[in-house]
């Protein structure tokens, strides 16, 4: 479980961002988490509750959008969703693909603040 370390990085990052942009009262932190990022969304939410205490984000909610795994099929020349996380091939022509288009994301997308 390394999600606590990840959450501490998120708090550092949004702390910097909100200071640079003079943002107060961040209500929601929108996060994209790829299914291939190595990070578990539920564990992140759990760690968030613990780590935010005593920070300016104690009342902020973490909103996670899970980004699916998408690969590029060189034969079909299309981006495709593989059959599973452990079968990196085209679901139609079954050609293996090591080209990951989405699924590794781990980023703070936006902050929702009081208008």
């Amino acid at each position: 479980m390394h999600e606590l370390s990840i959450v501490l990085s998120i708090i550092d990052e949004i702390g910097e961002q909100s200071e640079a942009r003079d943002l107060h009262d961040v209500e929601v932190v929108h996060l994209n988490v790829g299914v291939f990022s190595g990070v578990d969304p539920n564990a992140l939410l759990f760690a968030w509750e613990l780590a935010c205490e005593g920070t300016p984000f104690a009342k902020s909610r973490l909103d996670i959008e899970v980004v699916p795994l998408v690969i590029h099929c060189a034969v079909c020349r299309q981006n495709r969703t593989p059959p599973s996380l452990y079968q990196l091939c085209c679901p139609l022509c079954e050609t293996p693909s090591d080209t990951i288009v989405t699924g590794r994301e781990l980023e703070v997308v936006s902050l929702e603040v009081a208008a």
């Binding site: 961002q17 190595g38 009081a114």
Partner: protein, 233 residues
């Protein structure tokens, strides 16, 4: 109360990634080949590394960083093969990160080294998120663990460059299905190079050693501005 949305688009791992990038540049400038090892606990990283370091140490200057939650046992084992070994004890942390690597390198003359091995904490989950600045990540799978480990932990296998199947001397006793293991690795990381070894018997180790030597020659050709006059034969 109404809200507004402020776009940020910031990578969470930015600090680690920036530092890993700087480390990678340092390693290239020093012409040292940096290879990390990940696997579950007990799959034979240290035994493999002892043999690899032993096989390279005659011709090359080899160093190692080894991560564990506690004890200096692995460093003590590797020191039998090379004096340049440092243990990183992480306490409760389940992975190495770029900061730990940077701190552990303090005082080492990187440009005197040819190879630096980084043995990560035994864990098939967390290390996949952390770039350490290595040029090559090896993932180890032992014959005693079962063929379906790659399917159960696709992220770490996919984030690695080369797979090493260890403890091949025990394959028969463990009813290890080598063909299935190779197919499963191929399924999570198409095209991945796979070696089969036994550190105990020495089976397959020569091929890995040759692979690492070739990599060193190749990366020095790719980065020719680096350390001159070092023999890589």
């Amino acid at each position: 109360m109404s809200t507004r949305i402020v776009e940020v688009r910031a990578k969470v791992m930015k600090q680690n990634d920036l530092l890993a990038h700087a480390l990678r540049e340092r390693f290239q400038a020093s012409s040292v080949s940096v290879v990390s090892l990940v696997s579950s606990p007990g799959s034979g990283k240290t035994a493999f590394l002892e043999k690899i370091i032993g096989g390279l140490a005659g011709d090359f200057r080899v160093a190692a960083l080894v991560g564990d939650l506690a004890t200096e046992n692995d460093a003590a084992r590797l020191k039998r093969a090379t004096p340049d070994v440092r243990q990183i004890t992480t306490g409760t942390i389940c992975h190495l990160d770029a900061h730990m690597i940077e701190r552990a390198l303090d005082g080492w003359q990187l440009d005197t080294l040819d190879f630096l091995f980084i043995e990560n904490v035994g864990n098939l989950v967390c290390p996949s998120s952390y770039d350490l600045g290595e040029e090559l990540r090896l993932v180890l799978l032992s014959a005693t663990e079962g063929e379906d480990k790659p399917l159960k932990y696709p992220t770490i296998f996919n984030s690695s460059d080369v797979a090493i199947i260890t403890k091949m001397d025990l394959a028969e006793a463990a009813d290890f299905d080598l063909g299935a293991a190779r197919r499963n690795i191929e399924s999570v990381r198409p095209g991945m190079q796979i070696f089969e070894v036994s550190a105990k018997s020495g089976f397959g180790m020569r091929e890995v050693l040759q692979f690492l030597r070739d990599r060193l020659v190749q990366s020095r050709e790719d980065h020719p501005l680096m350390k001159a006059g070092i023999s890589t034969n």
